[in-house]
Symmetry: C2
Subunit: 578 residues, 2 copies
């Protein structure tokens, strides 16, 4: 196996030294994930407004594609809640839910998103994901979870409904709640209650019943499947359809057929922005899960190769009739906890879903939609974390504004504008802070060569020198502020001879700031003052040496601020008078 | 006069101690500016695709409004080249040039732009202008100058033509050049040649003829008016219209009628983005001129009150049938050089233009458009400064990319996309640099308490300590990078006990970065390493104290890096072994 091939296909590398024990671990994990994935796949297809079989299709080939190319050994890829909601929001603008155009648009969405991810990976654009700050991501996922949960209530009630924002959903529910269908509501409420209980209670019960820990843990994860079996059976025996309960209905049997998605430039360009947003959100979600799990086993995840792998998974989804996929949090944790060692577990799970698509679809006819809605509601409650608002409030105002903006915009304006508002708010707040940098007048800390803010520390200053520490890189957005600040400051001081800028926090001086420094130097010189710099960093000094500024500078550049003050302080004054 | 009123109307303040001498200075400057403004006003109306009288209207009331509210005593407000081009570009998307809808849209543009400027001033949003870096502004004005100059060539040739981008303009000229009109070309070429010569040669000639310096300087500024008189006379006597020369034609006589601009929500929203761009560009141009002139006389310009004053000037333009105005460079310099002491000079100039609108319009009938085009071409050559590309190239790559992007996008995609591309490019480049900060391993400079990069300086390090100086604020965009960097670094060092982050350049630690630091602290602790901080700034320490990070921190926070190294270095090693 050549090193080049191994780098291209991390999966091969993970098979080095593969043996029966590892296979057994992977096989068990694969079976558990399969059991978890069947209900989830059906449910997220429902959430995205798509036919149930598309959920299964999105859980076969994409898992294999990621398994071959991905750098995480335990990430489980497939349809996830937030991406399904975003797909519904984007595709819903193009076509009516349930129409052939709607499904075709969802497939195109997977293709576009896959192509973008793949391209971003090849161009090594993984760093772009860093512009989604933690508070923005947490806020967005929390708000999406609320929207998703509310959107499923109509299936539990058995009523019509619509809406993509909090006000629309609440209004729709208020109008429809009176028309609820009793059998649907009882089924949905019972399923929800059981699933909530099963998350913790089922394992405890099984343990009390004397089962071993491993077996009890395994059986506890079958909760969603048990609910599906029970409600499908009840629906069949009790003629739920006759009582007005909405069922999943006809699901075509068999494996997905390969097909190229529709090529329609108009449609592609309409979906492009949404596809980009889904790609970025999906990537961030997936990488953060992958990194968390990899860290637990001292493994590494490479963001740029993750982009390539997720891109391939989405293209695989598109050509096999699926919709956008990404690495999911809950399923990956299940896969990890079940003992998955390599991506062989995911390939086994893909085989399991394939079998389900071949064999189980006839019985899905009777499955009530309310059961799937219950599955979704229980799954998304783990996404909702309003604690992030409190943590941001306690820590800093700008993080708080960013998270509140994201949550508010997502709830009120929808998912796409929500995530955009969050990104724009966090970047704008960061930039805004740099336009009015903190500038400290500093003096020497007695007994050291260290200089600190005169307002916070007991320090020694010289009457003929003003020492300024500018706490920001100097660039176009704050160049004018620095000019105004220095002119205002020196105007008020008598007996001043020297201004020293301590440049410890100046990581860059761009051309606009250089022009401002030239103007400051010139203006101070007219007033009989020298401008000096101290502690200029290497990269900044390199840049300044390419300009004429250092020749024009009325003062000097000092290695340390201590040396600058020593050289410039008035002769008649003893050193370090307090 | 109450202090409150004086603050509201800076003009009143400037009249304190006003006397006959000052009035004489202002009156002379007012007359000179009037003579300069008449051809410019007509020419920029032509450039904006508007009837000539709108140029005059935009030079009466706006001057009075700015005079009363503006903080610059010498800024001259009115139609300018770049804003006129931007008006033409924006309004040309809405209506056909020359139609009534076109003129109405230009008036709405002035109103919207005025409203936005006024509002931004009231909200103290003047800092927004700082996001236009010097290279972006220079590049944009240079590219606009090229577009404007090329767009006027058709009037010099006397051909039809169109286009808003360099390729469109060149193609249009190539198609039309063969159809040139001889009389128009001779008139336009002669006018252009005379105006270029007059800029320097006329004054020199007058001085040689024995005129005094002041009188010669004054008469030299009459060049554009002389050309207008000469070509109008030639056109009248030589029946230029009969030879196919395009003339200004009927210009309604009299002062502008007050009228409210059209209220049409659809039109307003179509023009909103363009109005915002014109507002920002106009404000930046105006404030930079105002600041330059104010600095020469030790006066001050307040950006937020300038926004209010420019807003009022644009609203005044809109209600008196004008189009967007701002402070112009050339006319302000002329006003300043002519000795204007207060805004009384501008009020006198407004009166002069008013007289022109009342009395001179009948003779403008015969004025060839080629003369106005010559005026524009000569004026914009002073805007074109390709030297900024060379300066940026020499100084830094990111400034170079920003200026080239701006010039390229403006020439190829038009003014609006050009300025947007420039803003986006410069902000993106700044952010990109912060995502992969410069991180230096530092050691002590012998004989000082100062620490410097081990790769650039001859410094002393300790085998059990790694000292890192991160040259950037820690925030969401670089939190992940810092984590990866530190894990990679410590993995390769044997015998390491302590990691110290010297936080001199860390001006902020946001919530995302705090989480990264917590993860780093945790991971290092697992590896038996302590994480320490030194020289943490006051504002950053304030924030950290609101979190639990300092309690979890495995190491300590030191006042100076020197103290940190002294405390943590291995006991058995002598201090400062090289």
């Amino acid at each position: 196996m050549s090193a080049r091939l191994a780098k291209l296909l991390p999966f091969l590398e993970s098979l080095r030294g593969y043996n029966g024990n590892l296979l057994a671990s992977d096989a068990l994990a694969g079976v558990i994930v399969t059991i978890m994935l069947i209900p989830q796949s059906l449910a997220y297809a429902l959430l995205a407004g798509l036919p149930a079989e598309m959920g299964l299709y999105a859980s076969i080939l994409p898992l294999v594609a990621y398994a071959l190319l991905g750098t995480s050994r335990t990430l489980s890829v497939g349809p996830v809640a937030v991406a399904s909601l975003m797909t519904a929001a984007a595709v819903g603008n193009i076509a009516a839910a349930g129409s052939a155009g709607y499904a075709a648009a969802a497939i195109v969405m997977a293709l576009l998103s896959g192509g973008m991810l793949f391209l971003m990976g090849c161009l090594r654009f993984g760093f772009l994901a860093n512009f989604l700050s933690h508070p923005v991501v947490s806020g967005f996922i929390t708000a999406s979870g609320i929207i998703i949960g509310l959107s499923q209530l109509r299936h539990i009630l058995g009523v019509e409904g619509h809406g993509e924002t909090l006000p629309q959903l609440l209004q729709s529910l208020a109008e429809q709640v009176a028309h609820f269908n009793t059998v649907t509501l009882v089924t949905g409420a019972a399923a929800t209650a059981f699933l909530f209980w099963a998350r913790k209670g089922l394992k405890a019960l099984l343990l009390r019943m004397g089962l071993g820990d491993t077996l009890a843990g395994f059986l506890a994860k079958t909760g969603p499947v048990l609910v599906i079996i029970a409600t499908t059976l009840a629906s069949y025996l009790g003629d739920f359809a006759g009582h007005g309960v909405k069922l999943v209905g006809e699901v075509p049997s068999g494996l997905p057929a390969f097909a190229l998605p529709v090529f329609d430039p108009g449609l592609w360009s309409e979906l492009a922005v949404s596809a980009l947003l889904i790609s970025i959100i999906g990537f961030v979600e997936s990488v953060s899960v992958g990194k968390t799990l990899a860290a637990k086993r001292r493994q590494r995840v490479d963001p740029n190769r993750e982009l390539v792998a997720l891109g391939a998974a989405n293209v695989a989804s598109a050509v096999s009739g699926g919709f956008p996929v990404t690495g999911g949090f809950s399923r990956s944790v299940v896969n990890f906890d079940a003992g998955a060692q390599t991506q062989a577990a995911s390939i086994i799970a893909a085989g399991g879903i394939g079998l389900a698509a071949l064999l189980l679809t006839p019985v899905l006819y009777f499955l009530p939609k309310a059961t799937l809605a219950a599955t979704i509601i229980v799954a998304v409650t783990s996404l909702i974390d309003l604690g992030v608002v409190r943590r941001a409030w306690q820590y800093s105002l700008s993080d708080f504004i960013a998270v509140v903006t994201t949550i508010g915009a997502t709830l009120l304006l929808g998912v796409e504008l929500g995530v955009l508002a969050g990104i724009v708010a966090s970047i704008s707040l960061h930039l805004y802070k740099t336009t009015r940098p903190h500038i400290a007048v500093v003096g020497a800390v007695a007994g050291t060569e260290h200089f600190r803010n005169v307002e916070r520390h007991n320090v020694i200053t010289q009457p003929n020198i003003i020492s300024l520490r500018v706490d920001e890189s100097l660039y176009f957005a704050n160049a004018a502020y620095l000019e105004d600040y220095i002119y205002g400051l020196v105007a008020d001081i008598d007996g001043l001879e020297h201004v020293i800028l301590q440049c410890t926090a100046v990581n860059e001086i761009d051309l606009s700031a250089l022009e401002a420094l030239e103007a400051i130097n010139h203006r101070l010189q007219e007033q009989g003052l020298t401008l000096n710099l101290s502690e200029v960093k290497g990269p900044v000094m390199d840049a300044l040496q390419k300009s004429h500024f250092l020749q024009q500078l009325s003062g000097q550049v000092f290695l340390t601020h201590h040396q600058a003050v020593k050289a410039l302080k008035a002769d008649e004054i003893e050193p370090y008078i307090i």
